[in-house]
């Protein structure tokens, strides 16, 4: 295993130290139980947004802590959901009197652990709501599975609800906006290579030299199908078609297109994929009003790409454009 680490069991806390040192103006880090808190938290009178999940998806979620986005992120061990004590501590730390919204990716572990934390916080008298994001169209039979996974849509969700909370919206409004995003966002990803979890030491799946995994999750977990590697046109079409069919997105829709690197894919290839997606959408008469291109929800060093489409309303557009100041997303300030 080739990694720039000290020891597999201290990776997350060692990395958080660097994050704290790099962005002292934006955030502070509590090592135990691990939390990344907005530097000026709690912000009195503002709805607090708390998210979290396994580490290894950086910049998600710690890189999105700051004004206009998250109040706290709870990083679990690599690819492992955080524990309830982390989430409970973070909720307590950032609660500013206007309630707390938990944004949870739909994985059994995340849902169960955030659920337990929400119960603990509710017992303290804090108004805690939870919105679960499940945007991965790769998961087809949601009734026969743990349901769709939360993937790329999470980034857009955190930005948009973060803007709502920053603007002074109350907890009901934030929850409504969050559910609107969840209802209108769809994603799908693929990978060329598998990630290696530090404490595991070898790749999570074996992908042959001419194979790719389509519909992969963000933990290197297998997806819809393992298929022969095709060119970029085929890859992008294979991701976009299921997304478009699912909502469905139709001619005349305004969308945000998010082309995400799974971590190891160079920007050269990512922009190439993005250009193809833009063309395909234009051909269908779907108007791309905003775009985000980069490695924002990753799977360690996994090479691959995911596409996320969010149908935009004027309200969502306004929240998207609102200023944000975090380690990984910043504009307007």
């Amino acid at each position: 295993m080739k990694k720039i680490i000290n020891r597999p069991d201290t990776v997350v806390v060692d990395s958080l130290r660097g994050l704290a040192a790099a962005h002292a103006d934006l955030l502070r880090v509590i090592a135990d139980p691990a939390q990344v808190l907005r530097a000026d938290a709690p912000v009195r009178g503002k709805v607090a947004l708390v998210s979290g999940g396994g580490s290894g998806h950086e910049p998600l979620h710690g890189g999105f802590v700051g004004p206009g986005m998250l109040d706290a992120a709870c990083p679990g061990a690599v690819f492992t959901s955080p524990t309830p004590d982390q989430v409970h501590a973070a909720v307590t730390a950032v609660h500013g009197g206007a309630g707390v919204l938990l944004l949870v990716k739909n994985y059994t572990g995340d849902v169960l652990n955030f659920e337990t934390a929400a119960e603990l916080a509710a017992a303290d008298g804090i108004d805690v709501r939870t919105v679960v994001i499940d945007d991965d169209v790769a998961v087809r039979d949601s009734t026969f599975t743990a349901g769709r996974r939360g993937v790329g849509g999470t980034v857009l969700l955190e930005k948009i609800v973060g803007a709502a909370a920053e603007s002074g919206a109350d907890l009901d409004t934030c929850e409504r906006v969050a559910r609107a995003v969840v209802a209108e966002v769809r994603s799908m990803g693929m990978a060329l290579t598998a990630p290696t979890v530090p404490h595991v030491g070898s790749p999570s799946v074996e992908l042959g030299a001419d194979e790719m995994e389509v519909g992969i999750g963000i933990h290197g977990e297998p997806g819809r199908a393992r298929t022969p590697l095709v060119g970029a046109e085929g890859i992008v079409t294979g991701l976009l078609d299921p997304i478009l069919e699912d909502l469905p997105f139709a001619e005349g829709d305004d969308v945000l297109l998010f082309t995400n690197s799974m971590g190891g894919t160079p920007l050269l290839e990512l922009y190439l994929a993005h250009g193809i997606a833009e063309d395909l959408l234009a051909a269908r008469g779907i108007e791309v009003r905003r775009r985000l291109v980069g490695p924002y929800i990753t799977s360690l060093e996994m090479q691959g790409v995911s596409l996320t489409l969010l149908r935009m309303t004027d309200e969502l557009l306004e929240y998207w454009d609102a200023p944000v100041r975090t380690a990984a997303l910043r504009w307007g300030c």
């Binding site: 061990a77 309830p84 059994t108 572990g109 169960l112 026969f144 599975t145």
Partner: protein, 198 residues
């Protein structure tokens, strides 16, 4: 079948040892149909359990079980952390302040907790597939070893199943042909608790 505080402590220690010894096996099972962290997460959680056993004294089986529950809930993460944590918590609640526990009743309470949290039924390819037959065997009068045998068989039965809960469910048909890591870890812990090898 009853068990006192020392017995529960010894059993938990054996379970912790067994989890550590089987870490790599559980990781490999979870790599096949999950995300490869099951062995590591459980090993880490039980490491903290053993630390607590080493540094504190516990007066009742219920106190031990409660410590195990809160430790697993706060240290394991993933799906199995809250599930196993809830299981131990229900057993602890049942045990109350009593000097001994009824092992089969405790297992039954544990199963109830896992089902309440995880909503899985037998055949979903989860912990439940090992724990439910173990409870059934216990209720039918089996020895601890017999209970562990039932858990082993139940775990083995998951190979043929298609997962419908947890991360493995994303694989659909591709999840068949693999042993479920959670069912396996349940069987390992029950075997260790029973005092035998695995």
């Amino acid at each position: 079948m009853r068990c006192d505080t020392a017995g529960v402590i010894a059993g938990v220690r054996r379970a912790a040892e067994a989890v550590a010894a089987h870490r790599d096996e559980l990781v490999d099972l979870d790599k096949a149909i999950g995300d490869g962290d099951h062995g590591e997460n459980l090993k880490r959680g039980f490491g903290f359990v053993v630390d607590a056993l080493d540094s504190s004294t516990f007066d009742t089986p219920g106190a031990v079980l409660k410590m195990v529950a809160t430790t697993l809930i706060s240290k394991v993460g993933g799906a199995s952390g809250p599930l196993y944590g809830t299981a131990f918590l229900r057993a602890a609640t049942l045990a109350g302040e009593a000097p001994e526990i009824d092992v089969v009743a405790a297992l039954q309470a544990a199963l109830g907790g896992i089902v309440d949290r995880g909503k899985a039924v037998v055949g979903d390819k989860t912990i439940v597939d090992a724990l439910a037959p173990a409870v059934e065997a216990g209720l039918g009068g089996a020895t601890l070893a017999g209970i562990a045998d039932a858990a082993d068989e139940g775990a083995a039965s998951t190979v043929a199943l298609v997962a419908r809960k947890g991360r493995a469910s994303y694989l659909g048909q591709r999840s068949a042909g693999h042993l479920d890591p959670g069912a396996r870890s349940t069987a390992i812990m029950l075997r260790a608790f029973a005092g035998g090898g695995s």
